[in-house]
């Protein structure tokens, strides 16, 4: 292939880039014109030449020369700039962000391209670093591919990587030459052996990452954060960890693509069982149930949440899901070679043809019986790796060793294996929560390799535990950035709604004001949990002359302050939801809006988005109207206060009358909903009372529900439905909605089997109405809590409700199964949920208040928003629960007690018991139940475990749903230094 350069004009040359793209088995030859320029500057302040060649960009701005003229000196006193290879950024982005090292960094464009292709999150972090560190670290991108001095053409028989490495070396040599007079050395940092050797051959200065860090003045500090790779350097030394054990190789891309196309390989994401970290499930298309993956070798280095490709195992290896509970911290504590391994070495000789037949068998088998098809992971499409929180395993640390050593980190997420890190601060880090990043998992290593990122603090300290759970649940908790805060109204907390909305002055400031309705004369009040500061909603009711009721739901007008396409909007969209922890709230929007300007506080004028209905006496909707408004709340009640005021017969003022009317109407609304088949599910929700002075958790209380809770709830549901219908009418393709799919009957199989066997009851899943009715029938006269227990277990069998845009499903699938309504959205909490913000904008568009922004009319963008919302919403729930769990643990630390519990699962080696009083559940292992583990007998089909209790000779049978007395105490696990609830049978 002859590549030519052709000069087009002064300073602009054109050449061609040719490559072959393999896609779906085809090969396309692609030729691109590639333009080279001579006006790309080196961006160094020391340089006196480049200033003459620069030209302004499209915004008429000149490039910013960032690199310092007196950069950091190495230990030998020479000034240097660093040029990075892509592998350094990919492996050590944490180190790049470290404020103590890597100053004046040049990232060649070719490396940046590679980073973007390999990992987009790392790419965005690097971009953010380039953008924000001009005064501190100074990182620039040098567009070597477009500079005619540094562009290199690919040579015959040269791999693309070799060519790119050569381009990076060319960039280095150009820089070195360019800045020779200024006495700035150029140092190439790469962990690629070939590139390193060749660079040195070519007379460039090149170092591996570890060697480079050694050259820095403050190297000792930084060394711990070095990524732990199976590099050429470590490969020779590190023999101990690489025993005879070896994971199977992954398949080649060609094999994976071909296999998926011909239906012998399947792609899905792995979900590791929370009871057994060596058992995973993969949901696959065509299969009615997830397919099982059992054992370390079959999981083949997959992490929880990874996107993987699997292959079915021969029928002889199909199994029932394991009945053993197993977690990583107690598995292989001393890291013995696993006894189970080795038996699994089977000859894999089935051909693809047989495999296709196997799929048919597998689908058939899933429909019957307990034996499940199993599969093994043959390739990992996308890793779900992020930063993880954990702590050093005490027994893996050699306390005598003061130098660098290998240690295991046990992660908080018990579905994940322990991580091997190298650290010199092992002794110091014991009993601390630490953040680590996973680097790689070579096939010869039993555990993945990672490196230390930072420490959070002592185990069990509130700060460390709170930050840990925020990190673990991927909650963004950093303070809002300056750019975001700049979007807030300039008046700050002095912002006031105009006195008169037809005031010409005010209208010139805000032309939309004329479209607002003044509802300050309405007797509006809000009802919220005590101590609520972000008041989203307020209500009013008034009897109309015709005897019907005018009911208004007024929602904080967040979108007046949060305009689309501002940094504030982007931040809100990215956080998607506020996160409520026991002692802390992570806001979606800055405080000023959430707790002040948008919050519908009493006695002040606030902007609102109002839904006004005319309801008849039976709470049927006569008409509905939507308007932006100005309101003044008369009072902010807590649920109890509201209840008291309603109950207080002596009060007959108009506000109280309105509240009574609301209560009556809400009761009718609720009845209508229940008649339609709305579910009344339960979760063991508890509340932790904090001591107000020391903010130590005091006691745990199960949440109580008052009639006023459901008063507010019913009207919010009504508002959400009315809005959903309206925005769906206006934007049939992109309306922001929420759905709840009917649970597949298979989800209830296990529960039904247990109910049938133990209580002679059953649950029908035909419709939500049938389900609700059958749940009502599940009553054990001798135990009032039994019904709640069934509801709790049923809740876990349900599908998760999800946000979606209307174009994503057909109308029939919009149904909200739990609420038994046909169409639903979230509209009523825009301060703490982003979905509501979108719904507000769409409603504003639908009523002609202001045109809807394009981003909410674009299916792809809505898809992206919805996916993020669903993810963040789930994370927020988990974070909230984890926070409660932590505090419950702290409470129980002080008071040990004996409580009533219920057996909800029976395993081969233990039982899972739920204690309603604390909302905790825990596994009681067989070894804690009996002295004679061998004599214990497990009958899976009867959900029965028989054993001889400690200190007793007569055997005891434990069935699922049994009511048991358990001793509840909180213990610190010696292996993981994790506090958890320990239950012991009494």
């Amino acid at each position: 292939m002859v590549l030519r350069r052709k000069r087009l004009s002064e300073g602009l040359t054109v050449t061609q880039k040719v490559f072959v793209r393999s896609r779906n088995g085809g090969a396309t030859k692609i030729v691109r014109e590639h333009y080279l320029r001579n006006d790309i500057p080196c961006l160094s302040r020391a340089c006196k030449k480049c200033i003459h060649i620069v030209v302004p960009d499209a915004k008429n701005e000149l490039p910013n020369f960032v690199l310092s003229e007196s950069p950091q000196k190495l230990t030998d006193g020479r000034k240097h700039y660093v040029v990075l290879d892509a592998n350094i950024v990919l492996q050590a982005i944490d180190l790049l962000e470290n404020p103590e090292c890597f100053f004046d960094v040049i990232v060649p464009q070719i490396a940046l391209d590679e980073i973007r292709n390999v990992s987009y999150p790392i790419y965005t972090r690097l971009r953010a670093l380039c953008r924000d560190s001009n005064d501190s670290k100074r990182v620039v991108v040098f567009h070597n591919e477009f500079n005619e001095n540094t562009y290199v053409e690919r040579q015959p028989d040269e791999t693309i990587n070799d060519r790119n490495d050569r381009a990076i070396r060319r960039t280095c040599s150009w820089y070195a030459d360019h800045l020779k007079e200024d006495e700035i050395n150029i140092l190439l940092v790469t962990n690629d052996r070939g590139n390193l050797e060749r660079a040195i051959e070519e007379g460039l200065e090149a170092k591996s990452l570890a060697d480079y860090i050694d050259l820095l003045p403050q190297s000792d500090h930084i060394k711990d954060a070095l990524p732990n790779m199976d590099t050429f350097a470590s490969r020779d030394k590190d023999v101990e960890a690489r025993s005879e054990f070896k994971f199977p190789d992954y398949y080649s891309t060609a094999r994976v693509m071909g296999g998926i196309k011909s239906g012998v390989l399947y792609q899905g994401s792995v979900q590791i069982s929370e009871y057994n970290f060596l058992e995973g499930l993969v949901s696959l298309p065509n299969f009615s149930k997830p397919v099982l993956i059992l054992g370390q070798k079959n999981l083949n280095r997959a992490f929880n949440g990874d996107q993987v490709v699997v292959e079915l195992l021969p029928q002889s290896e199909w199994k029932a899901p394991s009945t053993v509970a197993l977690d990583s911290e107690h598995f292989d504590v001393n890291d013995n070679p696993d006894a189970d391994e080795g038996q699994n070495d089977r000859e894999d000789e089935i051909s693809d043809k047989q495999r296709r037949l196997l799929v048919q068998d597998a689908i058939q088998t899933q429909k019957s019986g307990r034996i499940q098809p199993t599969a093994r992971v043959v390739s990992i499409t996308r890793r779900s790796w992020r930063q993880y929180v954990g702590q050093l395993a005490t027994n893996s640390v050699d306390l005598q060793n003061g130098g660098t050593q290998n240690a295991f980190v046990i992660l908080m997420d018990k579905c994940l294996p322990k991580i091997r890190i190298r650290t010199r601060r092992a002794r110091e880090l014991l009993n601390k929560r630490i953040v680590i990043a996973v680097d790689s998992w070579p096939d010869a290593y039993k555990y993945p390799l990672g490196h230390f990122v930072r420490e959070l603090g002592e185990v069990e300290s509130v700060e460390a535990e709170t930050e840990a759970l925020l990190l673990e649940h991927n909650v963004e908790y950093q303070p809002f950035s300056k750019r975001v805060l700049e979007c807030l109204p300039g008046e700050g907390s002095n912002w006031k709604a105009p006195e008169n909305i037809s005031d010409p002055d005010a209208i010139t400031k805000d032309p939309l004001l004329a479209k607002r309705r003044d509802l300050r004369d309405k007797l509006i009040c809000s009802i919220d949990p005590p101590g609520c500061v972000d008041i989203d909603d307020a209500l009013h009711a008034k009897q109309l002359p015709n005897g019907n009721w005018e009911v208004g739901v007024h929602i904080a007008d967040v979108t007046h302050f949060v305009k689309a396409n501002t940094p504030l909007d982007a931040e809100g969209a990215s956080r998607s939801t506020s996160v409520y922890l026991v002692d802390k709230r992570i806001d979606m929007l800055p405080m000023l809006l959430g707790t002040n300007l948008c919050s519908l506080k009493p006695y002040v004028d606030r902007y609102a988005f109002s839904v006004l209905w005319e309801l008849d006496d039976n709470a049927n909707i006569v008409s509905v109207d939507f308007t932006k408004s100005v309101i003044r709340s008369r009072e902010a009640f807590s649920y109890e206060q509201a209840q008291m005021q309603i109950d207080d017969q002596s009060r007959t003022d108009e506000l109280t009358q309105g509240m009574r009317a609301l209560l009556q109407l809400s009761i009718k609304l609720k009845q209508q909903r229940l008649d339609a088949g709305a579910l009344n599910l339960a979760s063991p929700e508890v509340k932790v009372h904090m001591d107000s002075e020391t903010s130590d958790p005091g006691e745990v209380e199960v949440k109580k529900l008052l009639a006023t809770n459901s008063l507010v709830e019913e009207f919010m549901l009504l508002a959400n439905q009315s809005v959903a219908r309206k925005i769906y009418d206006a934007f049939p393709q992109t309306a922001m909605l929420r759905r709840h799919a009917a649970p597949p009957a298979t989800n209830f199989e296990n529960l039904n089997e247990m109910l049938q066997l133990r209580k002679g009851m059953s649950i029908s899943t035909e419709s939500s109405k049938a389900l609700a009715a059958s749940l009502d029938r599940c009553v054990d006269p001798s135990d009032p809590y039994f019904n709640t227990l069934v509801r709790i277990i049923s809740t876990r069998c349900m599908m998760a409700a999800q946000y979606f845009y209307s174009g994503a499903y057909s109308y029939a699938d919009y149904r909200h199964y739990g609420l038994a309504v046909g169409i639903y959205t979230h509209f009523t909490s825009p301060i703490r949920r982003y979905c509501d913000v979108v719904a507000h904008r769409q409603l504003a568009g639908a009523i002609g208040y202001e045109p809807l922004d394009l981003t909410h009319r674009d299916k792809n963008k809505m898809e992206f928003l919805c996916r993020n919302m669903n993810k963040k919403h789930r994370n927020a729930q988990f974070a909230g629960r984890a926070s409660i769990e932590y505090y419950v643990g702290q409470v129980m630390r002080n008071n040990e007690s004996v409580e009533t519990g219920y057996v909800i699962r029976v395993f081969h080696n233990g039982i899972v018991v739920l204690v309603p009083k604390f909302g905790v559940e825990g596994l009681i292992r067989l070894e804690n139940l009996t002295d004679d583990e061998q004599a214990a007998e497990f009958k899976a089909e009867e959900f029965k475990l028989s054993f001889k209790p400690k200190g007793s000779e007569s055997p005891k049978d434990i069935f699922v749903f049994d009511k048991v007395n358990v001793q509840v105490k909180s213990v610190l696990d010696p292996v993981t230094s994790k506090r958890k609830t320990q239950l012991l049978l009494r």
Binding site: M1, F19, V20, S22, A27, R255, K353
Partner: protein, 262 residues
């Protein structure tokens, strides 16, 4: 060039004399000079441009696609476009059908095989920019040069994909030379007892018939057939002319290939 009846008569007399007197002074076995350029279209896998001394010009581009062999029968498709002629004109159709047949007949499709399941399919596009004499010989030379310069993506996945399904995957840059036996075709004009190669347009106008001879894998091969060069003078041929044509091509073809390969 339009000739008067007298001129045609004169030319015909010249050509049937022994040895033939050709208007441009060539011997019966001499070709006109041609210019060949190859591999000048970056987006195609192989390309050539050929210009004859009378101004006839022809461009050929070869593109490839990966196909499942069980779904595609013909792995080579030739498309011919001649400037100034409709796609359904007899000349264009005749040339296209001859080329398709010859290439499918003479090229061993096994040579295009990638794996057990997949093959390359070649799309050969012929564009005749201007033609003053029967363009078949020229087109055939151009196809030969184009296929000779064709570079196909290099397979890096395994070739045996019958038992273990694999999608072919290719090297992102390196190409391999296409290695096939390419047939070439010669047109000869019969004038009385004489057979002359590479007839110019004036010669074609008065030739009593044309003969097409195919050369492949070092020998004369099928098809050998007559080709009507004009409408006025065409008549039957004596089998001796056929034998003579073949003899002539057996001498000439290796030399022509040598020239094209060089």
């Amino acid at each position: 060039m339009v000739m008067s009846l007298t001129e045609k008569r004169y030319l015909q007399e010249c050509l049937i004399s022994k040895p033939p007197l050709r208007p441009d002074g060539r011997n019966d076995d001499q070709f006109r000079p041609i210019e060949v350029f190859t591999d000048f279209l970056p987006t195609s896998n192989g390309s050539s441009k050929i210009v004859a001394s009378d101004g006839t010009e022809c461009v050929v581009s070869v593109k490839s696609k990966v196909v499942d062999r069980s779904l595609e029968d013909d792995l080579i498709v030739v498309d011919v476009d001649i400037t100034g002629r409709r796609d359904d004109s007899p000349l264009v159709q005749e040339i296209a059908s001859i080329l398709n047949r010859v290439l499918l007949l003479q090229i061993d499709q096994e040579q295009l095989r990638l794996t057990q399941k997949y093959s390359f399919k070649l799309y050969i596009d012929v564009l005749v920019l201007s033609s003053y004499s029967h363009p078949l010989t020229l087109i055939s030379f151009a196809i030969y040069s184009a296929l000779n310069s064709t570079q196909l993506p290099t397979l890096i996945s395994s070739e045996d994909d019958l038992d273990v399904a694999e999608l072919p995957t290719f090297h992102d840059y390196d190409m391999s030379k296409l290695n096939i036996d390419i047939p070439i075709m010669f047109t000869l004009a019969v004038c009385g007892q004489n057979v002359i190669v590479d007839p110019a347009s004036s010669e074609s106008d008065v030739a009593s018939n044309g003969i097409l001879v195919t050369w492949c894998k070092g020998k004369v091969g099928a098809p050998i057939r007559t080709l009507s060069l004009n409408e006025e003078y065409t008549r039957g041929i004596h089998p001796d002319r056929l034998a003579e044509s073949i003899r002539l091509i057996e001498i000439l073809a290796p030399k022509v290939l040598q020239a094209l390969d060089g």
